[in-house]
Each structure stands twice: as structure tokens, then as C-alpha cells.
């Protein structure tokens, strides 16, 4: 199966471990993600004011690129890209006047946008098209004995009209991780905001928030966190340095992109898993569990 792929900025820089593991895993499951030509920034945050049409240009322009690729579907990895593309798409599908205005603003584009592209997240492809049971069949290294805590954050789930699962009681990451053979723990913070972009100007806010999230998972027995957003990842992984400075008893916990564990369990090598790019090195944990496929 071929599908257009929108990477977004951070997948090409700080989240190479996300992109590399996703592309390799998808390919080994028969999903070919074809990168869009001339993609641009998605805007990162969806414009919430009704008159701010100019900021909807960026996501919609990317959907024109999908049409130019002769596709009707685009897949994203980053939760923020998923949110802005999907929501801008929904907005123009429901408001033809705004869609006309946007098309007029983009009069130099060869192709007009009519709301016909579908925006998907890789997790949805894995669940609905590959099927978790099929994923389970392809697993060569089951993540046996590995206790993981799924972390959804905000933008995969909320608001409900653009979320990919039940906003209050999501199960998609749990079911996915169980198909890889991992043991999934429950904790109350899996959908709690990590502090997001406050990490630029108010590190303390993020440190407090992430400390609560990680401590709760650790107290429930988690040995690793699994997520899908490069900004959550920065806050939950890199910011552990600042958490340790503030909370001396905090020992730290590895944080994976869900695709890294997928790559590992599919038997892909280090080049695909890219554990070397994680801030908290997860390799000692994986070694202790004899999960040395990609290590």
C-alpha cells in the first residue's frame, strides 16, 4: 500500500529516531510512505480564532501537495502535524466560503483544493489497515516482560472531533503495545498535557508537569514511556535532566517513540531503531530484558 507522507519539521531534525523507525517499520509491514514534494510547515498550532484564515494556508497547501502526488490520503507521525492538518481539513470541508477564500489566496497553485484528502496518523493505519493482529504475527522479538506506559498527550485525542480514539478512555496505544508483546500498565496521567511550548519560556512549569506524569507511571511499575509527539518527547525525555536537578530522588525512565518499539519487535536493526538518539539511553533496559534486536 502506498500513501503520501507529511513529515513536518522536527521529524527531520530532533526526531530522526521517530522518522527512521517509522519508515523502516511501515515498509516492512507493506506500507510505503512516500514523502510529499515541497511540503511546508503545518503551522504547529491550529488557529482557534474565527477570522484568522491566513494561518490555515500552510496546512491546506500541504493537502494540495497530496493531490499533486495523485493521492487522496496523507499520513503523519507528529501529533501536532496530525492535529493541524486534520483540523484545517475538517474546517474547509464544513465551510465552503472559507475554502473559496483560501483557494483564492493560493491562486498561483496549479491545483485547487476541494477538501478531498483524508488525513491519517500512522497508528490508524496500523490499527485499521494493517491490523494489530497482523502486526502481532510479524513480531520476531516480542517485548516480553517489558512494562510500558502509553502516553497520548493532547493532540492525538482532543478535541474529540479530530481525535483518533476515545478522548477520555483511549486504548489504541495499549492495544498496539500488547500486539508487540509488551505489558501495558495503567496510570492516570496518560492523556494529561506535558506543558507543550511552555518549555521555551517556562521550564519550571514543564518540569513540574512532567515530573507528575513520569512519577505516576513509575509508581505503577512502568519501565518505559511510549509516545507519538516530538514535543512531548522533548519534554518527557530531554527535560529529565532538569527534573533531576529539582527532584533529587527522581531516577529517570527511558522514553520511546511507538515506532521504535515496533521496529525493535519486527527484528529491524539499530539503523532503524535509532536508540542512540534518545536522551535517556534505553539500551541498558532493553539489554536487561534480553531485547537486543536493534541494540
Amino acid at each position: 500500500m502506498k500513501i503520501s507522507y507529511f513529515p513536518g519539521c522536527t521529524l527531520k531534525t530532533m526526531a530522526k529516531n521517530f522518522e527512521d523507525s517509522a519508515l523502516a517499520s511501515a515498509s516492512s509491514l507493506g506500507v510505503e510512505m512516500v514523502e510529499l514534494p515541497r511540503w511546508n510547515c503545518c503551522g504547529t498550532v491550529y488557529s482557534l480564532t474565527s477570522d484568522d484564515l491566513i494561518h490555515q494556508l500552510a496546512p491546506i497547501r500541504n493537502l494540495i501537495r497530496v493531490k499533486e502526488q495523485k493521492n487522496t490520503r496523507v499520513v503523519t507521525l507528529c501529533s501536532m502535524c496530525y492535529h493541524t492538518l486534520k483540523r484545517a481539513n475538517k474546517m474547509v470541508q464544513e465551510d465552503s466560503e472559507k475554502l473559496d477564500k483560501l483557494n483564492n489566496l493560493m491562486y498561483k497553485e496549479d491545483v485547487k483544493y476541494d477538501g478531498e484528502v483524508e488525513v491519517l496518523h500512522l497508528l490508524e493505519i496500523l490499527k485499521n489497515e494493517v491490523g494489530f493482529s497482523q502486526v502481532a504475527k510479524k513480531v520476531k522479538t516480542p517485548l516480553k516482560g517489558l512494562k510500558v506506559a502509553p502516553y497520548y498527550g493532547c493532540l492525538l485525542l482532543r478535541p474529540p472531533e479530530v481525535g483518533l480514539d476515545d478522548s477520555e478512555n483511549p486504548t489504541i496505544l495499549k492495544n498496539f503495545l500488547e500486539s508487540l508483546g509488551a505489558e501495558v500498565i495503567d496510570y492516570p496521567y496518560e492523556t494529561e498535557c506535558c506543558g507543550s511550548y511552555h518549555t521555551v519560556v517556562n521550564i519550571d512549569l514543564v518540569v513540574e508537569r512532567v515530573y507528575d506524569i513520569l512519577s505516576s507511571a513509575i509508581n505503577q511499575g512502568a519501565e518505559a514511556i511510549v509516545l507519538s509527539c516530538p514535543l512531548c518527547d522533548f519534554n518527557l525525555d530531554n527535560r529529565q535532566k532538569e527534573i533531576k536537578e529539582k527532584f533529587s530522588e527522581f531516577k529517570g525512565i527511558p522514553v520511546f517513540y511507538f515506532t521504535q518499539l515496533l521496529a525493535l519487535s519486527l527484528g529491524l536493526k539499530e539503523k532503524a531503531c535509532r536508540f542512540d538518539l534518545n536522551f535517556v539511553d534505553p539500551r541498558p533496559l532493553l539489554k536487561s530484558k534480553h531485547l537486543t534486536g536493534g541494540v
Binding site: S50, M80, C154, V200, F234
Partner: protein
């Protein structure tokens, strides 16, 4: 002396602007407080989310725009998901930030962000921060 405050008296230009920018009906809120109960950021706020709506209903422009709250809200959409009246508080918070920013006053001046932070954080953090905090 008895003072009567009616919606008619307090419906201000400010409230009309918030309704226009957010597309939300501010008076749909019946002050149940569910948004404040579930807000993950409330400990950082000076005015709770449900109080913000009440103050907007009453046209208290200064108090609302000078609050920390509107900047602490990071649009996590928890309140939007849970509001029993379907009020999109994230859109209201955004309108309040926009009313401030459209006076061409930055909440965070991009030049004030230290170089070591700029080189450390991912692009999505920087772009979203400046989209929300700069004019």
C-alpha cells in the same frame, strides 16, 4: 441600596469581540466549574478558567486581559472535551490572547529567548510558542 446588574447593562464591546473571534456563545456557560476541575494548569493560574468566562460575561476586560491565566493555557483541549454545555474554552482563551497580541504587544519578545534555549528546543516548540505569545 439595591443595584441591579442585567446582561443588557454588562454586555460590552469587549464581550462582543470575544464572541466574534471565538465564535462561541459566552452565555452558554452556566458556571459548573468542570473546566477548572480538570485543567492541568490551574495551579499556575491566578484566575480559574470558569472565573475567566464569568468575568468575560460581566465585561471585565482589564482583569481578564491582565491575568496570567490566558497565557498559561496551552490549548490542551481538556475543558473543551468535558464541557457539558459544549463551550469551547480553548477558543475563548485564544481570543483573549489575540485581543492582547493584536495591539502589537508581544507577551514573549522573540529576541528575549536565550541562545542556548534556541539551540536546545525542537522547532515545533519554538514555532508554537511564538505563534501563541508574539504579536
Amino acid at each position: 441600596m439595591r443595584t441591579e446588574i442585567s446582561i443588557k447593562d454588562t454586555k460590552s464591546k469587549f464581550l462582543a469581540k470575544v464572541e466574534e473571534l471565538s465564535g462561541e456563545n459566552i452565555y452558554a456557560c452556566y458556571q459548573c466549574g468542570k473546566c477548572s476541575a480538570g485543567c492541568p494548569s490551574i495551579s499556575e493560574m491566578d484566575i480559574s478558567p470558569s472565573e475567566i468566562i464569568r468575568l468575560v460575561q460581566l465585561g471585565e476586560e482589564k482583569e481578564v486581559l491582565n491575568s496570567k491565566t490566558i497565557w498559561v493555557c496551552a490549548s490542551c483541549f481538556t475543558c473543551v472535551t468535558r464541557c457539558p454545555k459544549g463551550v469551547d474554552l480553548a477558543k475563548i482563551m485564544e481570543s483573549l490572547r489575540q485581543i492582547s497580541l493584536r495591539k502589537n504587544v508581544d507577551y514573549v519578545n522573540p529576541l528575549s529567548i536565550p541562545k542556548d534555549v534556541l539551540s536546545q528546543v525542537p522547532q515545533i516548540a519554538l514555532i508554537s510558542c511564538l505563534r501563541k505569545f508574539s504579536a
